[in-house]
């Protein structure tokens, strides 16, 4: 299914067009444009990458090369609740691996995946800078600190 079929998508593309038009130059602005595109679409599917390539007059391969290089860019849609487990060193030595294990079990998905009902996605990230609260889980922009495997059930239930 294409991403540019319905009206909602047309609006999103228009918003992206507007942003690109507002840049004084497009030279070297690929990453800035991709940040914005991900902000608008939530992720960067193939259609959006092809579109960006065309707008910036770049080969699609170059756009894909950049999207796949940086961990911040994702080609899969995220769930309504984007669950990230910090695997920075401070969280690691305070048992982040056990938290991740409990979350994969609870949600029934692997790292980088989204549940079928599109409610939850699971990611890992490196250091959110809240090492005092290690181990840390972030759901959308909310940080849960000093998490234990027993707390996972409650944290997920809070979202549901």
């Amino acid at each position: 299914m294409g991403c540019n079929e319905n009206g909602a998508d047309r609006e999103k593309y228009a918003e992206l067009d507007q942003f690109i038009a507002s840049l004084p130059t497009t030279k070297g602005e690929l990453i800035r444009v991709l940040h914005r595109a991900q902000g608008i679409f939530g992720y960067l599917p193939k259609e959006v990458q092809v579109y960006v390539a065309k707008k910036l007059d770049l080969p699609v391969s170059k756009v894909y090369g950049v999207v796949s290089f940086y961990s911040f860019f994702t080609m899969k849609p995220k769930g309504k609740y984007d669950v990230s487990v910090c695997l920075g060193t401070a969280c690691y030595v305070r048992g982040a691996d056990k938290i991740l294990e409990a979350l994969t079990k609870k949600l029934g998905i692997g790292v980088g995946d989204t549940t079928e009902d599109a409610k939850f996605s699971l990611r890992t990230l490196r250091c959110v800078g809240a090492c005092g609260l290690a181990p840390v889980v972030m759901i959308n922009n909310k940080v849960y600190g000093r998490v234990t495997p027993d707390m996972v059930e409650g944290i997920i239930a809070e979202c549901e």
Binding site: H35, V66, Y70, T89, G132
Partner: protein, 597 residues
């Protein structure tokens, strides 16, 4: 600022914000207003106080009272007691773990006694969203001094004299770097701030940008004047939204005040700063990779020379410094290079900020003079090891560094000493580990990180880190042999000698340093197939003590793989070939009859 009798400072660092410091600030403001004290008492949010362990922190000025673990519902009592009646809220004061006394003044806290704040001088003291507060603390006076009283050459000389070395990790002399950038002639030059803090477990740059963004802006302008650049760029991680907000606010305010833009302070000097966002790639901390990323490309490094000073952003002369380095610059011009040199050690003057984390009582952000020993940092400032466990190692330098042990505790910390001990300064992450941490597993953790973050451009790093990670996986899974250890060593040395950039060259450090200091532990994993720290699950063994087992059958019923057999009221036995070491049996046993070893 002087109009108020009291100031209530609420920590707005990431850790404290995650624990509702916003709600605390709102509640305090409301209570102050309700008490009719709004004219006498100002409530504001500042940058990080550093004492993250017991956040959220609220600090009262002028009496320097330090309240810890504050909750929004404590606001009413703080205002009613402290502000209105002048009595400290005892139950919220920090309790000294040594003598269990309540500490009423922050300067008597062990955590702060040995610290010296230069880069963090304004963090937790001013409102980072108000440039006036920065200016009131001599902000932009250094820029004014440089522009009106010094030539660019004199500025560079002063920097060289100060001996400031790059705080991003490598420790290259900052003044020399500026001199190189000045030496190349071009109409267009760039000053870049590297705020792509990617070292897992380090958050000093974030705290500086969140707590004192103007110090970075001022320093970049000074550098622009010194090297002859009009353009500044801050390359910052998109994962740091709060730092991005505060920096944007500060840049706009500086523009309004004529401290950025054309003809700064009425001189001919023009300089402005633009933000550029990273997208999550550890290798972008390397300056050539960072520059490629700024140009919208994959962040892959290139060989040096040419150095960025000659050919950097869009092939123009470019000077890149890290956030903490920038934060030191204005003070050097205000107090002089001689003053700066008087702090720290001869070859590493000044202070260093460390993010102290891991198995330590006082997790937080600290700044100490170079030359302070690890023992002072861990036991005096850090308050020792959590839960009374035994200290095993401290990891410095992140994925590029190594582990230091008991025998290194009295080493004065500086750039050269840490390298001599087989680790490195890095950006300042300091992770403390206790007896429960397994060193081969720690090395594996770092290798998984570098393997994931390797950009893939050069073979030694792309393939080599993968192979290292596989070897370590075998070792921690009980499939290792003594040949694995030989191969680890050999391959590590090859990667170190042949990789293209700093990421690859230093990637084997966690392996080499743990192999050197904890060889016994590696040998135990491969020969005896045991994990002395009891961390590697595949090497654990669960056994039922026959004398203690009552034969209640609970363990057998809960075992997910049916590895436990036995009859009612008779001792049970675990079939080791079936056991998956999940530990469910031990958690369920009511008679402590199951042991793990």
């Amino acid at each position: 600022m002087a109009d108020y009798k009291f100031h209530i400072l609420v920590c707005g660092g990431t850790g404290c914000q995650s624990s509702n410091s916003h709600e605390i600030m709102e509640a305090l403001k409301q209570n102050v207003a309700d008490a009719g004290m709004a004219e006498d008492c100002k409530v504001l949010m500042t940058g990080c106080f550093g004492f993250c362990e017991q956040g959220p922190i609220v600090k009262m000025l002028p009496d320097n009272t330090f309240y810890t673990s504050v909750k929004p519902e404590d606001a009413a009592e703080i205002v009613a007691e402290h502000i209105v009646k002048g009595r400290k809220v005892q139950r919220l004061l920090y309790v000294d773990p040594e003598n269990e006394e309540h500490v009423s003044d922050a300067k008597h806290m062990e955590f702060y006694k040995k610290q010296m704040r230069i880069a963090l001088r304004n963090c937790g003291f001013i409102d980072p969203e108000n440039i006036d507060e920065y200016i009131a603390r001599d902000g932009y006076a250094a820029l004014a001094k440089c522009l009106t009283e010094m030539t660019p050459e004199e500025v560079i000389e002063e920097m060289k004299k100060s001996g400031l070395r790059g705080r991003g990790g490598a420790g290259f002399p900052t003044g020399l770097k500026w001199q190189f950038a000045r030496g190349y002639k071009s109409d267009v030059k760039y000053v870049v701030c590297n705020a792509d803090e990617g070292d897992p477990g380090a958050f000093m740059d974030r705290s500086i940008l969140e707590g004192d963004p103007n110090s970075v802006i001022e320093a970049m302008a000074i550098c622009g004047y010194a090297i002859g650049a009009k353009y500044g760029r801050v390359y910052i991680r998109a994962e740091y939204p709060l730092a991005i907000d505060r920096l944007s606010i500060a840049i706009n305010q500086a523009r309004e005040y004529g401290l950025l833009g054309d003809n700064i302070l009425g001189t001919d000097f023009c300089f402005d700063i633009e933000l550029m966002f990273g997208a999550g790639a550890f290798v972008c901390g390397e300056e050539t990779a960072l520059i490629h990323s700024m140009e919208g490309q994959r962040g892959e490094p290139t060989t040096k020379p040419p150095f960025p000073a000659e050919s950097g952003f869009w092939n123009q002369p470019t000077n890149v410094n890290n956030v903490e380095t920038w934060a030191n610059v204005p003070v050097i011009f205000l107090k002089g290079a001689d003053w700066f040199r008087s702090i720290g050690t001869e070859k590493s003057p000044g202070t260093k900020v460390f993010a102290l984390a891991g198995k330590i009582n006082n997790v937080g952000l600290i700044e100490v003079p170079m030359g302070t020993t690890l023992r002072e940092v861990i036991y005096e400032i850090g308050g020792g090891i959590k839960n009374g466990k035994k200290f095993k190692a401290v990891q410095t330098g992140g994925p590029s560094g190594g582990c230091l042990t008991e025998k290194d505790l009295d080493t004065p910390i500086d750039f050269d000493n840490l390298v001599a001990k087989g680790s490195m300064m890095g950006s300042g992450g300091m992770i403390v580990m206790d007896e429960d941490d397994c060193m081969p597993a720690v090395a594996k953790f770092y290798l998984e990180f570098t393997q994931e973050e390797s950009c893939g451009k050069c073979t030694p790093c792309r393939v080599g880190t993968t192979r290292l990670s596989e070897l370590l996986t075998d070792i921690t899974n009980g499939k290792g042999t003594l040949q694995h250890l030989e191969e680890l060593k050999r391959l590590s040395e090859v990667i170190r000698d042949t990789a293209l950039c700093g990421l690859g060259q230093t990637a084997p450090n966690p392996v080499l340093s743990t192999l050197r200091t904890f060889e016994d532990e590696y040998i135990a994993h491969v020969t005896e197939k045991t994990c002395p720290a009891g961390k590697c699950q595949a090497l654990l063994k669960y056994e039922i003590i026959a004398d203690a087992c009552k034969g209640c059958t609970l363990c057998a019923r809960n075992c997910p793989v049916g590895a436990i057999s036995g009859t009612v009221k008779n001792p049970h036995v675990i079939d080791q070939s079936k056991c998956i070491k999940c530990g469910v049996c031990m958690n369920n046993c009511r008679f402590n009859a199951i042991v793990r070893h």
